[in-house]
């Protein structure tokens, strides 16, 4: 029997805390117990942070009892992708064997912000090694083992925020923080049937997070609902002198945002590419569901090398970020590197002129895309072309050139630093979730969140739960 406090959205949990129906310490204990019992079942847990969680929870309890509320996250436990630095002897493994004993003496800014909001850190969550930065092709590329999907443990969660996806989907934490360089929040959200928000680049400080690609890395929440994503992002966002990329204005979440007219949503011509039948059908159904509040229109983008530009930036920045690691033979200790066609040692083989040309084209793309998007509130697309693939199979081609060939939205969104939210749009014939994403213009998180909320107000997919594991 699942505890009645599990699988409740943040806003409901906050209400229960405010009405004293549950205390922060009780809530923290509930989720710590679940993380400890079920986390290993999904290969989703790196370390339980019970002592730290109880410390925050007891403070929250005292504050709330004294009438000092710090907001909706006060007393709500959460999990951190294990690329976020945490002090106090807690490991930060970056999901990779060479860093299994790594520790930091400081906290990532997002960790500090969430704890300052009174949210107890319950555990460090599994991830694909080095956030997939060395070119993995197989789900077993993780220090904690292949990340198992709560909907079917024979399938994987998607990566690289794999533990964050599994833990929220299985009700082991109410929400988790993940990171995305290219797909690492949206794909686990898709595969695990969650809401996942990739914020605008610079919305959230990356201080204390493993750097993979300085101009592509973003931190964001994986939650049960779009509303939860907005609540968490408001706490995470804001300028940080320790991260020069952060935007000076913090994000103010508006759960009542309404454009005062019907939403205008574009669908890029041909964006569904080779989508699986269920993905295509669920996307088309989702579009029809939103038809009473939104107008959809096919959009044509100018011919530009979207995928190639973002791929080049990713290759060069990751090769530089891990230059010493490459020189020391670090990738040889990883478990899932794709040596055939995706070798990390090929990444330094990029001419400077090609890289600078990619940066020049990146500006052209950013301006062209924004020009197109200025006529719309968001672009919509299936989040992924397939549901979760088997855990014991390679999930993509060995060829680097197909790195994102089917992910036009991902290459544009990450290359241009645009916000996007994925929410569940149904299931395939095997009972695996599909997702729909809404991508808005830079700094327009309130817009894509509003569309996602409208969709979730009309559907029940986000209320479906995977089976409890038998341990």
């Amino acid at each position: 029997m699942v505890n009645s406090f599990v699988f409740k959205p943040i806003r409901e949990l906050a209400g229960l805390i405010a009405s004293k129906e549950i205390s922060p310490v009780e809530l923290t204990q509930t989720f710590l117990d679940r993380l400890e019992e079920f986390g290993p079942h999904y290969n989703s847990l790196v370390a339980l942070t019970a002592e730290r969680a109880y410390r925050t929870a007891r403070l929250a309890e005292a504050d709330i009892a004294a009438g000092r509320s710090r907001g909706l996250l006060h007393g709500i436990p959460w999990g951190a992708k294990d690329l976020l630095a945490t002090s106090g002897g807690i490991p930060t493994t970056w999901g990779a064997a060479p860093f299994r004993d790594q520790q930091f003496d400081y906290d990532a800014t997002v960790v500090s912000k969430l704890e300052a909001a009174g949210a107890p850190l319950a555990g460090k969550l599994a991830m694909i090694e080095l956030a997939g930065g060395m070119g993995y092709i197989h789900p077993d590329a993780s220090l904690t083992g292949p990340p198992k999907n709560p909907w079917d443990t024979g399938r994987w969660t998607g990566g690289s925020s794999s533990g964050s996806g599994a833990a929220v989907a299985a009700g082991l934490v109410p929400f988790a923080i993940g990171s995305e360089t290219w797909g690492s929040i949206l794909v686990p959200a898709n595969n695990c049937g969650l809401a996942g928000l990739r914020p605008t680049y610079g919305r959230v400080s990356r201080y204390g997070a493993m750097a993979l690609c300085w101009t592509l890395d973003k931190l964001g929440p994986l939650c049960l609902t779009a509303d939860d994503c907005g609540i968490v992002l408001e706490t995470l966002s804001g300028p940080d002198p320790k991260d020069g990329s952060t935007h000076p204005q913090p994000f103010s979440y508006n759960p009542d945002f309404n454009p005062g007219r019907r939403f205008r949503i574009g669908i890029i011509s041909g964006v569904m590419g080779e989508a699986a039948d269920a993905v295509r059908e669920n996307f088309e159904t989702a579009v029809s569901v939103l038809a009473d509040v939104a107008d959809f229109e096919e959009v044509r983008l100018p011919e530009l090398p979207y995928v190639e530009v973002t791929s080049t930036v990713l290759m060069v920045e990751s090769a530089s970020a891990f230059e010493d690691f490459l020189a020391e033979g670090g990738p040889l200790e990883l478990s899932g590197t794709g040596w055939h066609g995706r070798s990390p040692y090929a990444r330094p083989a990029v001419l400077a002129t090609d890289y600078i040309k990619a940066l020049r084209l990146r500006g052209v793309i950013a301006r062209e895309v924004d020009g197109v998007m200025s006529g719309y509130d968001a672009l919509a697309a299936p989040t992924a072309m397939n549901t979760a693939t088997p855990i014991d199979e390679e999930f993509r081609s060995r060829s680097m050139t197909s790195a994102g060939a089917g992910d036009l939205m991902g290459s544009i969104g990450n290359g241009c630093g645009l916000p996007s939210i994925s929410v569940p749009s149904g299931f395939d014939g095997d009972g695996l979730p599909t997702g729909i994403q809404f991508m808005s213009r830079a700094y327009d998180e309130n817009v894509c969140l509003a569309i996602a909320r409208e969709y979730q107000a009309r559907t029940e997919w986000h209320r479906q739960r995977p089976p409890e594991p038998i341990t």
Binding site: Y345, P348, L361
Partner: protein, 69 residues
């Protein structure tokens, strides 16, 4: 020399650089994988090179002179 031959020579030279820097770390099979990847990357750079830009299009990266006081 044909374009394909030029490309092949370029990939060979890039592979030689990687082999010089990292070859001592890698097995023959892994080096074959590097060569395959470098050949694949050619397809990534081709459309970037083919796209013409005017002289005034700057890299989309900010540079700001620094003064510490």
């Amino acid at each position: 020399m044909t374009t394909d031959a030029n490309n092949s020579l370029e990939q060979d030279l890039l592979f030689a650089i990687v082999k010089e820097r990292y070859g001592h770390l890698l097995t023959g099979e892994q080096l074959d994988g590097v060569r395959t990847a470098i050949i694949g990357q050619r397809d990534v750079f081709r459309p970037i090179r083919e796209h013409r830009l005017t002289n005034d299009v700057e890299p989309f990266a900010s540079f700001t002179p620094f003064r510490g006081d």
